[in-house]
């Protein structure tokens, strides 16, 4: 074993395992494509004229369209993993981290509190439409910084810096509520491109292991 530094620490082992797992770029590509889909589906709603049928009903149908795309993506992801990843690095299902569940619950709580606050004070609040882009950039940056520190992935810091830059650009351009979508789209394209490059490198570096699962008398578990 090359790294027996702290094998009894499950947190350290998990971080190491996740870093190893994120080498293939598949998660990054998936998230990037999902952001692009989100942007591609919701952004046209801001440009459609209100009087038309499409303009009136687009917002109603777009979440269903996004959900259908997400289901199709999950199915594709399963097939891609089975075909390209498992034969190379093996099959593994990670346990959901307790911190992830806690963060999800806290995030939902904050979002609900903010929504309630906006609903309650909306008459006295100034126009916040310009703040959507920078706010989305800030949220993205915070998530990337957290991921970069937790999983020790330095390139996440670049993604965080890019999301801040995109947020600032939407503010300078005077984009309204659509600014958040532009930030999401920009991040989606970057992540998808980076993920594809990472995956290409991964496939080149990791050949398919043919004897990994062969059964023999000497090694009954091999």
């Amino acid at each position: 074993m090359s790294d027996p530094s702290n094998p009894s620490n499950p947190t350290e082992a998990r971080v190491r395992a996740l870093r190893r797992w994120s080498e293939n770029g598949l998660e990054e590509t998936t998230l990037g494509v999902l952001f692009c889909l989100f942007c591609g589906i919701f952004l046209p709603g801001y440009f459609l004229p209100n009087g038309t049928f499409l303009g009136q009903h687009y917002a109603t149908f777009s979440p269903y369209f996004l959900a259908a795309c997400a289901v199709a993506m999950v199915l594709t992801l399963k097939k891609v993993r089975a075909r390209f990843i498992y034969p190379r690095t093996g099959y593994v299902v990670f346990r959901p981290a307790a911190s992830r569940i806690w963060i999800a619950v806290a995030g939902q709580g904050i979002a609900a509190a903010m929504a309630l606050a906006v609903l309650h004070w909306r008459s006295s609040l100034p126009d916040l439409s310009r703040a959507w882009g920078p706010a989305a950039g800030l949220v993205f940056a915070a998530c990337f910084f957290w991921g970069g520190i937790t999983y020790r992935l330095p390139y996440f810091n670049w993604l965080a810096a890019l999301s801040l830059l995109l947020g600032a650009a939407t503010l300078a351009a005077g984009a309204g509520i659509g600014g958040a979508m532009w930030v999401m789209g920009g991040m989606g394209v970057t992540m998808a491109a980076d993920g594809v490059l990472r995956m290409k490198r991964f496939l080149k570096r990791h050949p398919i292991v043919r004897d990994g699962q062969s059964l023999s008398e000497d090694h009954p578990h091999a």
């Binding site: 395992a17 093996g90 593994v92 699962q213």
Partner: protein, 124 residues
């Protein structure tokens, strides 16, 4: 003095159990790459862990590919937790012992200087 679990105390088995504690399940290939053990070694250690009831082995097929899935049992997880607790207690014991040793050696180094008699006045 706590007695360490010999099954887990071995380095390779400790790595396997620790890895399995972080995942729901993993196959033989993943474990082999993550621990960097040879096929034979990993197989032998898994057999030992299975015999101790710490790991559950399941032969399965993913499409046409046969795979050996390994999962940590609740007994295995409990054993790992106990091992960590006992190891931490032992390490704390050694930490305290070395602290005491350092303190004593500091006192021993200071004492002769304090006890040294004053030099006699030199004659002109």
């Amino acid at each position: 003095m706590p007695e360490l679990d010999r099954v887990i105390h071995e380095q390779a088995r400790l790595a396997i159990v620790t890895l399995l504690a972080t995942v729901e399940e993993a196959d033989f290939l993943y474990l082999r790459q993550a621990t960097e053990l040879t096929k034979g070694n990993l197989s032998a250690h898994l057999a030992r862990l299975e015999a101790a009831g710490y790991v559950e082995i399941e032969k399965a097929f993913r499409g046409k590919i046969p795979m050996t899935l390994a999962r940590l049992t609740p007994e295995g997880l409990a054993a790992l937790k106990t091992y960590r607790k006992e190891m931490t207690a032992l390490l704390n014991l050694s930490k305290n012992a070395s602290k005491g040793l350092r303190k004593r050696s500091r006192v021993a180094a200071v004492r002769p200087v304090a006890a040294r008699p004053l030099a006699a006045p030199q004659r002109a």
